[in-house]
Symmetry: C2
Subunit: 355 residues, 2 copies
């Protein structure tokens, strides 16, 4: 979806890459095909030249057939309920379109955490959906060098604005969660934030602040505790909040996993949810319904977001295949979708004791 | 890994399939490539002939390269913690070998629940790992018709013995869970079983019975409640058990999800885990550590099982590529691995009140 690689393709040949890297054409070919019989230093050198020149190998036309098309999903951490929702949605989106979904965890086996990039380069994917929370500028360039359409799912916030993104209405979700607690009569409402440099964390926190201000409740910034999207982080934040001489009667946790940490700390102190403490989460991963009590949370439609990301990638693949010229657009005109969040009422909230 | 398809390949051509189905060669080709412009009845007819003749399309040699190899994972239900463990392990196994993992949910979109089979046929995978609980004889034949190596993960128990399988020591796991509760002093120990026709359910139940018998505790078959691996099923079974005039002091649930249902029912009655009721699960999905209290459970190494399945498939792909003749073996000599289960102690068990 970046036109830069399209232009580069016409100019740069595999011979140019070989010359610039000071290696033979067969060596470049081996690197492109992910072969193991290339020295690591040579591979790094050639990969660097490929990235800097924007060289893209030609594909045979038959590989562009939609019916055997592959979309690559790259995700930071596969071992999370979040990843599960994303995967299920992406697989559904791909299989409905007759495409295959290749799954890549951006883990650090033996070649740094970019080893997925080499694998993608070898497979020459039709398109890529990236779910990488710590997605930085360097990675964006690497991915663009693949020459395939790319969509960022749940973007960290700092990515190249020319790349299309699919996210959720995190601000509105923060408002909804907080307004629900306010409507039950809570006033001392605390919030536990996610990883602070992520856009979604900031938006959820701003939603909380906006709802409190709108209700005329003076903002008490000491009721904002920083978390990190983990259960341990949620428990640590809950400890700080419940140790206060004036503890909150309700906690809005910026993720379900952090809410489970709040549950642990409440149980450790003999506090019952929701009788003694109301808790609201964010995400609505499948675990919420199995928690005791089942967790009231803000549903982020991760599955739909993933399916929509795959759909956008495939649409671009079709447009390129059919020779449809990319619509002329400025960098900022790449689509940036936000799907709606909504409150899912379960059993973890109740009026405060004093009300 | 079945030699039948290898023999058939030499005899059957695409023209034979077309003649036998009474359609044109291009129509057979469309079906093989998963194209949408074939009438459903025609597709079913052609697919049936392909399956019954054992016809396998030729692949170009270059598609056999290991460095761009794809392993297809087919799983009944992607939306479960079980699936997440399997996926993460399979992805790890594939990426370590430099192969890509394509994920398929065996869901029922628009073409019956075998639509994944058409997708696989179109992509001509290097190998297939099947995780299909209701895997029947018909499906086994369909999968064999793809001509690619196949491994069954966590087999239902009724599959073709010539197909390699990877499972867990379910019987030993049932023994371990029950012996743990016995060692705490429990005697009235109930169990909630999984889907009854699955091999893993039967083995876990037999492990429970064996441990009770070994401890000299008379078997009370009314303490065996049938579940279905869901949280709702677990709660329903717990209701029956806790409604008794002589309720059990401990429950061994055949899955973590069913254990979460037991938690719900205990909470509804004001019973505390583990003070009033001990609970042990099975699987050790990631949710267990986030439950309140964290669940003591039997760890089934699903991730390692999945990685091992991928490894076995790739080994067979390499053997075929390198022209290594399949080792002569009888049907029953296909490998059937069982990886070890082990007890993971957390906080959901304690001595009974009366002890």
């Amino acid at each position: 979806m970046s036109s830069a690689t399209g232009r580069a393709e016409a100019r740069i040949t595999i011979a140019d890459v070989a010359r610039q890297a000071g290696v033979s054409v067969p060596t470049v070919s081996k690197v492109l095909n992910g072969r193991g019989d290339v020295a690591p230093d040579t591979r790094d050198l050639v990969s660097g030249v490929i990235a800097s020149t924007g060289y893209r190998p030609r594909r045979r036309q038959r590989e562009q057939r939609l019916d055997a098309m592959l979309v690559e999903l790259v995700i930071t951490d596969l071992a999370s309920a979040y990843a599960l929702e994303v995967l299920a949605g992406a697989e559904d989106g791909a299989s409905r379109a007759g495409a295959g979904l290749v799954v890549n965890a951006a883990h650090d086996h033996d070649g740094g955490d970019r080893s997925w990039l080499g694998a993608l380069r070898a497979r020459r994917p039709s398109g890529v959906v990236l779910v990488i929370n710590r997605f930085g500028g360097g990675s964006a360039e690497d991915v663009a060098s693949l020459g395939a359409p790319v969509v960022l799912l749940d973007p960290a916030g700092s990515s190249d604005p020319s790349l299309p993104t699919v996210g959720a209405t995190n601000f509105a979700g923060g408002v909804t969660a907080t307004e629900h607690l306010l409507s039950l009569g809570h006033r001392r409402i605390a919030t536990i934030t996610g990883v602070p440099f992520l856009l979604c964390s900031q938006e959820r926190l701003e939603g909380y602040r906006a709802a409190m201000a709108r209700a005329g409740v003076p903002t008490d910034e000491t009721l904002v505790e920083q978390g990190d999207f983990t259960a341990v982080g949620g428990q640590r934040a809950a400890t700080a909040l419940l140790d206060r001489h004036d503890p909150p009667t309700a906690i809005f946790a910026g993720s379900d996993l952090m809410a489970s940490g709040v549950y642990q700390e409440a149980r450790r102190r003999g506090l019952r949810v929701p009788e003694d403490l109301s808790v609201v989460g964010f995400d609505d991963v499948s675990m919420c319904q199995y928690m005791s009590p089942p967790l009231t949370t803000v549903r982020q439609p991760l599955g739909e977001m993933a399916a929509e990301s795959v759909r956008m990638v495939l649409e671009e693949v079709r447009a390129r295949r059919d020779g449809v010229a990319p619509r002329p657009r400025t960098d900022s005109a790449a689509p940036h979708l936000q799907l709606a969040t909504r409150l899912v009422l379960r059993e973890s909230t109740a009026p405060p004791r004093s009300a």
